[in-house]
Amino acid sequence: MSGILRWVFEPGLFGSAAVGVAVLVGGAVAVVSGTVGVLTVIRGQSFAGHALADVGATGGSGAFLIGLNPLWGFVGVAVVAAGIMESVGVRRPRGRDLATGIVLGAGLGLAALFLYWDTTWSNTTGASMTVLFGSMFVIDGSTVPVVIGFSVFVLAVVVLLYRMLLLSSLHPDLAAARGVPVRLVGIGYLAALAVTVSLSAMTIGAVLSTALLVGPAATALRLTKRPGWAMAVSAAIAVAATWLGILLAYDSYYWPPLQRGWPVSFFVVVLVFAAYLLTHLPGTGPRRAPGPVSLVNTRKEA
């Protein structure tokens, strides 16, 4: 028995400070991403979620350039970009996607410039690599309180706006008729989304940020109808995938071909995707996802 345990949990796993920080930060980020992700999927804003992570990277590389803590660059630029997206965005989903794309294009252009300056002036070739993929095992221990503080803030915003957000996501017109400030709620939600993804993009990379935002939430929405439950299930899936991914990455240190560890992001992405595919097996998830898709389908049938 102890032999199997020893094989699963490589010696030194629990003693390593880097792994401890990764588990803490990864867990906090996963809970927040999973929760916010349910609203993102219901509102059909996966693209915005992904774009904000990429645009946050612009802020990160900009802050890097002027010697500021990248965290503030990430969060600041992502929140500003979210504001622009919401103010440009038309209410039709197609127009909204276009506005997101334009902001993303401009953000990536600026990122190209910042990274160019970073690499020519301060000689940091790894910058583009770190910004894209992040590296969970080299998170600075001092960012832990900041990450947890922001996580609590985002969760508080979601809890406070929960009912209004849900109503304005599912039935914008009904919400407006009931006196919900739809536009304001949308901006508040997008700001929360921006903080979430920029936080996760900075700590675990833009790739994992999108994976944890969309994957667990889409899986959870296939499993349960009730948004509250979906949020809990989604957060649980996200945390499980993250921790299992960390464990596997730590174990993979002795795997072929290179003997230096496979990336965490690979494992987490595969786990998240496998969970999503499992809900698509025949006989599971008979219901349709809420939101625009089901509306479109009913209209087609009518």
Binding site: V88, L98, G101, G109, T119, L213, P263, F266, V272, F273
Partner: protein
């Protein structure tokens, strides 16, 4: 700026702009901005994989772009489209992270695959690019009417016997082909900017599909040419000028549309006005 070694650059940039303008018109019309972003960015993982096993970059890009396109189409049929796109993108990038961690010397090339290296185009790269580009344009020309139909009025097209899902697959494959052609030269991010911004801008100026497509190509060409010139003068990356220039053009277009007070242009697909009038 127009010296011998720059000829390839101008040629490659112009070809990319034409293809991006045409394909981008449909990407914007169909609301597929996310797909236009996901396929090029995800495909770059294929280049990393190809480098790992010693295959050609364009082959790796092509395989991953095609796999990504088919994956998005397959998943999108069973779930929400944006979720399918996001998941396909992260799976491809996750694989990319794995490939990159396994190869040692590849890291410097990432930057150029993401942000482009248009000033290093060799004569040998122009040939395959031109072939793929012509294929894309031919595919769009053949599919033009049904593609337009399903993009604007999916329900009516379905009723008239056009298979919406098949058209979606065709469109995704065209995006994949355009991607494999352009990413080695201009980079994933630039390709995305060139597909979205000019086409989005063109829609602020005209309602007619062919005019919008032509305008989209013209704006893409103007953006790229100005960007190449500016990048040549300043040594700053091309992606910066294309990305920011595209956003500026879009902003101008929106300002113009608002000035004219043509609400229909902004909120309705091009032929929508005709349909509601009739």
């Amino acid at each position: 700026m127009f010296a011998g070694f720059m000829v390839n650059t101008w040629l490659a940039a112009s070809m990319v702009a034409v293809v991006a303008g045409v394909v981008g018109f449909f990407a914007v019309l169909r609301g597929s901005a996310f797909v236009a972003h996901a396929i090029p960015q995800g495909a770059f993982a294929g280049a990393a994989g190809a480098a790992l096993i010693g295959a050609g970059t364009i082959l790796g890009l092509g395989v991953f772009a095609l796999a990504g396109a088919l994956g998005i189409g397959w998943l999108g049929r069973r779930g929400r489209h944006d979720v399918a796109t996001a998941l396909a993108l992260v799976v491809m990038l996750g694989l990319g992270a794995l490939f990159l961690s396994m190869s040692v010397e590849y890291a410097p090339e990432i930057y150029s695959l993401l942000f482009g290296e248009v000033f290093g185009v060799s004569g040998g790269e122009i040939g395959p690019m031109a072939v793929l580009g012509v294929l894309c344009l031919a595919a769009v020309a053949v599919l033009y009417r049904p593609l337009l139909f399903t993009s604007v009025l999916p329900e009516v097209a379905e009723a008239r016997g056009v298979r919406a899902h098949r058209m979606e697959m065709c469109f995704l494959v065209v995006v994949a082909a355009a991607t494999s052609m352009t990413v080695p030269v201009v980079g994933a991010f630039l390709m995305f900017s060139l597909m979205i911004a000019p086409a989005g801008t063109a829609r602020s100026f005209t309602d007619k599909p062919l005019h919008a497509m032509g305008l989209s190509v013209a704006i893409a060409l103007a953006t790229v040419w100005a960007a190449v010139a500016a990048s040549y003068e300043t040594q700053w990356p091309l992606g910066f000028f294309v990305g920011v220039g595209g956003a500026l053009a879009y902003g101008l277009g929106r300002g113009w549309a608002r000035h004219r007070g043509t609400r229909a242009v902004r909120t309705r697909p091009p032929t929508g006005a005709v349909v509601t009038a009739g």
